[in-house]
Chain length 231, copies 2
DNA sequence: ATACGTTTGTATCTTTAGCTACAAACGCAA
DNA sequence: TTGCGTTTGTAGCTAAAGATACAAACGTAT
């Protein structure tokens, strides 16, 4: 797969032309490295000078618990990046380590040069800057939204909000989760059997029906009421 | 209070000199408005072209639930701002309304000009840009951290993590919360009596003692264990 | 010192979700 | 079609936290 297509999958390069992407290598100290499985490409506490963007392969992120233990806290695939938050916070050091999970290529661009103006009057700086900003701002939106589910205490409330949000986003009474029960339970931070139990109760109440990851909403008003009054 | 001192309380102007702040009004279309109680200064769905920074007074943020109802979702005081997230996300419209709660003055600076380079070679753009970035990145850190408390299921786990985090931050075995029980319970998203019950159980177990918002940690190791193993 | 409002502690009861272990249904490949 | 692994549904029990309502302690102003 060619590098331009790959990079365009990354939000940092939204709206970029091929030739603008090329300029990255001149203006932003862009460079590409290749790693094999097990290689540590970011280490907790180390200074962040570059944003890393996975071009091919995959990597795993680990945070360190105060007792020293490492905990898996997410996976990175082609188009994903790391360091874009830490690069601009407090002490500019990684707060998670990134370990390559399979043979991977990673593009790095310099954190500093993104905000610095360069002598070549290129549009790419400007665009990249806007994209970095949207990227961070969007992330805030997303996390905030996820936190909403966590704050709801009742099982029915959590489920209702999830389904209702999907209904609003997809616009149809038949929605697809892209989750199996396990994943959905994990996302909502509840146990799967308890969740199943409540979904079935909601079905008995005529609010929804479902099969696998396809949910049909039979009583939108009630679902909306549940989602909005959830505490 | 003078405007320079006020602005320096805001993270956007971290590291600014007085004369650099003055440039804001030239380069960034900075302007100040005065409002009385009840005035709506941001409306859900309206385009965001400026970041608003409260100089004096106070305001309240409301989100709109899908049924149309408004819900208080936070207060803004001197030094706080609004629009800095929405200004750089998706459709660049407010997702919460801001209503002035008491006579207030608000400084606005243009969202666009922050990322644009200006002809005057001034350092203020550059600095402001870095500050906007840190601001957003820091926010991500903070929300992520808050979400951690919400994900912990056991009462003891939540309490332990909160106290242990404070212990790590303050570095002393006597920590001050800056919370009363009600506020703490709200922050942890639990009921106050249940929380009280568990705090007392932890005291009986010799882990902590407390009086008002002063907590003394007697068994740091155990607290750490609880905080780190919390599920 | 007293009286009042606020914060914190206590008791009782109920509700809810967690957990475990198992059964049924499904999907897919041999 | 049969069999196997995975996903989903079910049951019973337990533990834990919610709700409510009240009591005690504290702070503070008169």
């Amino acid at each position: 797969m060619n590098i331009f297509k790959l990079l365009k999958k990354n939000k940092l390069f939204y709206n970029f032309e091929d030739k603008e992407i090329n300029k990255i290598f001149d203006c932003l100290n862009g460079h590409i490295n290749k790693y094999s499985r097990g290689r540590v490409v970011a280490e907790i506490g180390a200074p962040v000078t570059e944003i890393g963007i996975i071009l091919t392969g995959a990597a795993v992120k680990f945070i360190q618990k105060p007792n020293g233990e490492l905990e898996n806290c997410g996976e990175l695939y082609a188009g994903d990046m790391f360091g874009e938050v830490e690069g601009y916070t407090g002490d500019h050091t990684y707060n998670s380590s990134v370990v390559v999970a399979e043979e991977s290529t990673i593009l790095y661009i310099s954190v500093d040069t993104i905000v610095k103006q360069c002598s070549n009057t290129c549009a790419c700086h400007q665009k990249l800057l806007e994209n970095v900003l949207s990227c961070l701002a969007e992330r805030i939106d997303n996390i905030n939204n996820d936190a909403k589910y966590l704050k709801i205490k009742s099982m029915r409330g959590k489920i209702s909000k999830l389904f209702y949000d999907r209904y609003l986003a997809q616009g149809t009474e038949t929605i697809h989760l892209g989750f199996n029960r396990n994943e959905m339970a994990e996302y909502l931070n509840v146990s799967r059997p308890s969740m199943s139990r409540e979904m079935i109760a909601m079905r008995e109440d005529g609010i929804i029906s479902f099969r696998k990851d396809e949910i049909v909403i039979h009583n939108v008003d009630e679902l909306a009421r549940l989602a909005n009054s959830a505490r």
